[in-house]
C-alpha cells in the first residue's frame, strides 16, 4: 500500500503535467506567451464544480470543463491573436484580472470569495483517482507528442520562429494560432476539472498570480518546446516542495521559503541556462 502522501503528490503531478503540457503547446511550440493560461484552468474548475454540484454526472461535467474553457479561449484567441508580441502578452495578463473580478463579483454563480465547497469526488478512493489522472495525463502526453510531430505541429513551430515566413509559404497563420490556443485551453480546462475534484473546492484564488508562477517555473525550468522538459519541470517542482517540507521545521516559514526558493531557481535558470534543462528554443 502506497503511502497516502505519495498518492496525493502523484495526483497533483499528473494534473499539473496536463497544465504544463498545454501551456507548452501555446508558449513553447507556437510562441504565444499566453499569460492567462491559468484562467482556462480556473474556468474548467468552476465549470466542473458548478455542474457536478447541480447533479450533472462527472464525465459530462469534466468534458464540459474542457469545452467551455476551449470555447471561451477560442473566442478570446480569435480576437487577440492578431496582436503583435507584447500586446498579446499584456492582454492575456489582463485576462487574469478579469477572471478574478468576475469570480469574486458574480456571486449568484460563483458565491464570490466564499468559493464553491463540497464539490463531489469523481472516484472515492484516492488511489484510483490518482490512476484516473494518470491515464488522462498519459493521454495528454501522447496527444501533445503526436501533435507536435505532425505537420500541424511543425506549422505551429514555424510560426513561433517566424510568422511572416510561415505566411509566405502559404500557411494561414491566424488559423493555426487560434487552433493552438483552442487545443491548449481545452486541455487546461480538463486539468482544471481534475483539480477541483481533487480538492473538492474552488475559489477565486485559483487565478492568483502565485498559481501562474508555479506553472511558469515548471515550463521554464524544464525547457520550452520540450515534452521531456515539461515532465521534468513538474517533477522538480514537486520534489522541491516536498524537500522543503522536510527541511523547514517551522510550518509558518514553509510558504515564504518555498516562494523564495522557486523564484531563486527560476532566476538562476534564466541566467545560466536560458533554454531550460531540456529546452530547444530561446525565450
Amino acid at each position: 500500500m502506497i503511502h497516502e502522501f505519495f498518492i496525493q503528490d502523484f495526483t497533483w503531478f499528473f494534473i499539473y503535467l496536463i497544465i504544463v503540457l498545454s501551456f507548452n503547446l501555446a508558449f513553447g511550440f507556437t510562441g504565444m506567451v499566453n499569460l492567462g493560461h491559468m484562467v482556462s484552468v480556473g474556468i474548467g474548475a468552476y465549470t466542473s464544480a458548478l455542474l457536478t454540484l447541480n447533479g450533472v454526472p462527472w464525465y459530462i461535467a469534466l468534458l464540459a470543463a474542457g469545452i467551455i474553457a476551449c470555447v471561451i479561449g477560442t473566442i478570446i484567441a480569435a480576437i487577440t491573436v492578431r496582436l503583435k508580441g507584447d500586446y498579446f502578452q499584456i492582454v492575456t495578463l489582463g485576462l487574469i484580472f478579469i477572471a478574478i473580478a468576475v469570480s469574486r463579483n458574480w456571486i449568484s454563480l460563483t458565491r464570490g470569495a466564499l468559493g464553491l465547497p463540497g464539490v463531489p469526488d469523481i472516484i472515492r478512493s484516492n488511489f484510483y483517482y490518482m490512476l484516473f489522472t494518470m491515464v488522462l495525463s498519459l493521454m495528454a502526453l501522447w496527444f501533445v507528442y503526436w501533435l507536435t510531430n505532425s505537420e500541424t505541429g511543425k506549422i505551429f513551430q514555424a510560426i513561433r520562429d517566424d510568422e511572416t515566413a510561415t505566411a509566405i509559404l502559404g500557411k494561414n497563420t491566424y488559423f493555426y494560432k487560434v487552433l493552438s490556443l483552442a487545443i491548449s485551453t481545452f486541455l487546461a480546462g480538463i486539468a482544471g476539472g481534475l483539480m477541483v475534484h481533487q480538492i473538492n473546492f474552488v475559489d477565486p484564488s485559483i487565478f492568483d498570480l502565485e498559481q501562474f508562477i508555479i506553472i511558469l517555473f515548471m515550463l521554464i525550468v524544464g525547457g520550452l518546446a520540450s515534452i521531456k522538459g515539461s515532465i521534468l519541470g513538474v517533477f522538480l517542482l514537486f520534489a522541491l516542495i516536498d524537500l522543503l517540507r522536510f527541511l523547514v521545521v517551522r510550518p509558518e516559514l514553509i510558504g515564504p521559503v518555498r516562494q523564495m526558493a522557486l523564484l531563486l531557481i527560476l532566476l538562476l535558470v534564466l541566467i545560466y541556462r536560458p533554454k531550460g534543462i531540456f529546452g530547444k528554443v530561446d525565450i
Binding site: E151, I155, D161, T164, A165, I168, L169
Partner: protein, 247 residues
C-alpha cells in the same frame, strides 16, 4: 494566355511582346510622409528573369512586400496571370503561386533543415537533398537551421522558396552575404530555373550579377519607375547612371 495578352494590350501601358505573368499597375504606398512607392506600373514577362534595381530606399523591398501581401497598397492593382491578388492575405498570395525570399533572411531557426523545407513542401528526403544540392548547401537534414552561417541560411531560404510550387520566384538580394564563388553558382541556378520555365523577379545590388543574367531591368528611383529595358541599354542610360550612381 491569350486573354492575358489582351489585358496588357487594352491597358495600353505595356509595350513588350511577351505574355506577362505579373502586372503591377499604378501602385502607391506611403509610410507616414514617405512615399515609398509612388505610382509604379510595370509587368514581369512570363519565363523571364527581371531585375528590380535602384538606390537604397528606392522602394524595391516595399514592392516585394506589396506583391507578396505583407503590405497593403494605398492604391493600385496587382495581377498574377489573370487573377487579381491586390489586398489578399499573404498566405493566399503564396498559394496563388508567389514564392519569395527576404532581404534579411527568415529561416525557422529552431527547426531542422528538413522541417524548414517541409513547411514549404511535403517532399521526400531525396527531393530535399537535391533541392539543397542545387544551391550547393551540403548539410545534414537534421541540422538546426539556426546553426548555419548567415550565407548558408540565405541559401536554405532560396532552396525553400524554389522547392515550393510556384509561378513567380521573387528574390530580395539573394547574393548579399553569400561568398563570391556561390554568387557565380547562383547565376547558374537562376538560369537553370528559367530554362525549366520559371519566372524570376530579382532585387539585386550587384550590377555585374544583374547585367549578366537579366532579360529585363526595371530601374526604380524614389518610388517611381525611372526606366525599363534590356540590361545593355540600361547600363548606357544617362538618367539611370545619374540616379543610381549619384553621378
Amino acid at each position: 494566355m491569350l486573354s492575358l495578352w489582351k489585358v496588357s494590350k487594352t491597358s495600353g501601358v505595356f509595350e513588350h511582346t511577351k505574355n506577362s505573368l505579373l502586372e503591377f499597375f499604378s501602385v502607391c504606398k506611403s509610410f507616414g510622409g514617405v512615399k515609398a512607392v509612388d505610382g509604379c506600373t510595370f509587368s514581369v514577362g512570363n519565363n523571364t528573369i527581371t531585375s528590380l534595381i535602384g538606390p537604397n530606399g528606392a522602394g524595391k523591398t516595399t514592392i516585394f512586400n506589396i506583391i507578396s501581401g505583407l503590405t497593403k497598397p494605398d492604391y493600385g492593382k496587382i495581377k498574377l496571370l489573370d487573377s487579381e491578388i491586390t489586398g489578399l492575405p499573404a498566405y493566399k498570395i503564396a498559394q496563388a503561386g508567389i514564392s519569395r525570399t527576404f532581404q534579411l533572411t527568415k529561416v525557422f531557426r529552431n527547426m531542422t533543415i528538413r522541417d524548414n523545407l517541409l513547411i514549404a513542401k511535403k517532399a521526400s528526403d531525396g527531393e530535399m537533398k537535391s533541392a539543397l544540392a542545387r544551391v550547393h548547401l551540403h548539410k545534414p537534414l537534421d541540422m538546426a537551421a539556426g546553426e548555419l552561417s548567415y550565407g548558408q541560411q540565405r541559401l536554405l531560404e532560396i532552396a525553400r522558396a524554389v522547392l515550393r510550387e510556384h509561378k513567380l520566384l521573387a528574390l530580395d538580394e539573394p547574393t548579399a552575404g553569400v561568398n563570391p564563388q556561390i554568387r557565380q553558382e547562383l547565376k547558374a541556378i537562376l538560369r537553370g530555373l528559367k530554362e525549366k520555365g520559371n519566372t524570376v523577379l530579382l532585387i539585386e545590388h550587384d550590377m555585374e550579377f544583374v547585367m549578366n543574367i537579366s532579360d529585363e531591368v526595371i530601374v526604380l528611383n524614389e518610388g517611381r519607375v525611372l526606366k525599363r529595358g534590356k540590361p545593355q541599354d540600361i547600363v548606357k542610360d544617362k538618367e539611370v547612371l545619374e540616379a543610381y550612381l549619384g553621378k
